[in-house]
Symmetry: C2
Subunit: 282 residues, 2 copies
């Protein structure tokens, strides 16, 4: 692991680092907030949205004051593999904000050219968690996951598919059902091919509608009603319907006037940190 | 005034805007946080440091949660004039991070080519305050001022030179004595010429050492001890010595391990908001 920057804040330490991922076969960037004290600490994984790097949440969410008070490690990984290794795929990677670099969608790609590096699902649940366990005083039996937009989709689906790894899950303005929206359809087709059978695993609303019993006593989702992507891309009502079908408690809070930005996230992040801490520290 | 973006946050509203300044003879950019409720609200002016725009504090300081609780308007102006009007001075403006665009130093330039537009002192105390009074439910009899680095210098010197306008003043890692450091010397010579008589007005430590009675019951300054600019550029001990000479109460808090970044600011911004609110709401 290479530490690229380190800052003291709220009595703790924020580290920006890079490490080699076996899953993506590239270096991967991340930030880690470590609170003051001895540990081991519970961990919250934060998955960011389209176009984001490890810096967006880190700089803009205003999460670390409460995290310091609660004694939570917060890990914010990058949203895709990046860098010189991907030069062979430059055009495919960079032609759009919603595909390729900055848009990994937290899936394991099976299609060319993406399959070579875009293995974000394995990266998060394997390489990233291993790194955190090895390099920080983290208690990997107490890990929660949250995220925003594409990262909200990632948090929900990874929590559902790896419920043994995650004790708590929440999301801000998640892409609730990728198979039903343009962002999701484009990414799923490029990364997974045209068969919808392969997509289902990565669709939170579909997974939930299956009625599979989940270990989560509650899922917390916040959504701004002035979010320009609400109707066309995010569709939280599909998650709400599926939760009803599945008998899964979902607290979906709709906020008048709030948009899709980090100002919305900052306004409610403390509620999410409290929600996770309550479950991770129980 | 042109509103360029608006976001709901913490029950209030954040507005990014541009307006024409008579002082700089350019459009000037700013952000304004307005808390929920009727007002009129007291106002905190935040002056940013070298290279910053109106966005840095706005995105990174994590100040608005407490500002919403306290009922404080926070105004973050840009650090210099910018834009097409300055094309004639492009080389001079953009050849360095510490001179020209992004580096107004909150002075009224008297030297060519800067005098034509770089009138940041007049901009802050005249055009900016007028705009806030006209467009927001602000109580201009209750205005505080704070800032970081170059903006800490700006906050201290403007508060001292316009003590009838500002009821409270604080700073993070201010350039305490521009005449004694390379950043300050370069800027003062470029903007004000070689006569040191013209510089003194813009040097907080020198102003304070004059022993002129100030109306401030206390000045709050935070400084990180891992700040790479501490010894060479910031020199808060000169402010401390001057405060002693002047009999001005200065609370200078030195923080082990903290650097010059917005992570340092975020860690202590709530203390500054409380400090100002206590004085502005008294």
């Amino acid at each position: 692991m290479d530490i690229t920057a380190q800052h003291r804040l709220f009595g703790g330490t924020l580290t920006f680092a890079k490490h080699d991922s076996a899953a993506t076969r590239t270096p991967m960037a991340l930030s880690v907030f470590l609170p003051e004290g001895e540990g081991p600490f519970p961990v919250l994984i934060w998955l960011s949205g389209l176009t984001c790097t490890a810096s967006n949440f880190t700089e803009k969410a205003g999460a670390y004051k409460r995290a310091a008070e609660l004694g939570l490690i917060i890990v914010a990984p990058d949203t895709s593999p990046r860098g010189a290794d991907l030069q062979g795929h430059t055009v495919a990677n960079d032609e759009a904000y919603d595909l390729g670099q900055g848009a990994g969608f937290y899936v394991n790609a099976t299609q060319s050219p993406w399959a070579a590096h875009f293995q974000m699902e394995s990266y998060i649940v394997t390489d990233l968690l291993q790194l955190i366990g090895a390099e920080w005083p983290a208690d990997l039996s107490r890990v929660g996951i949250s995220g925003h937009s594409m990262g909200g989709h990632g948090a929900l689906t990874l929590a559902m598919n790896y419920s043994h790894l995650f004790k708590s899950v929440s999301a801000f303005a998640p892409i609730a059902s990728p198979v039903h929206c343009p962002w999701g359809q484009k990414a799923m087709e490029a990364y997974l091919g045209t068969s919808h059978d392969a997509w289902e695993k990565y669709d939170a609303a579909l997974r939930l509608a299956k009625g599979k019993a989940l270990p989560f006593d509650e899922i917390l989702v916040d959504q701004g009603l002035a979010d320009p992507f609400l109707e066309t891309q995010l569709m939280p009502h599909l998650l709400e319907q599926a939760a009803k079908v599945a008998g899964q408690k979902l607290t979906l809070r709709r906020h008048e006037g709030y948009d899709h930005s980090y100002y919305f996230i900052a306004s409610f992040i403390d509620d999410h940190l409290d929600f996770h801490a309550q479950r991770l520290k129980a």
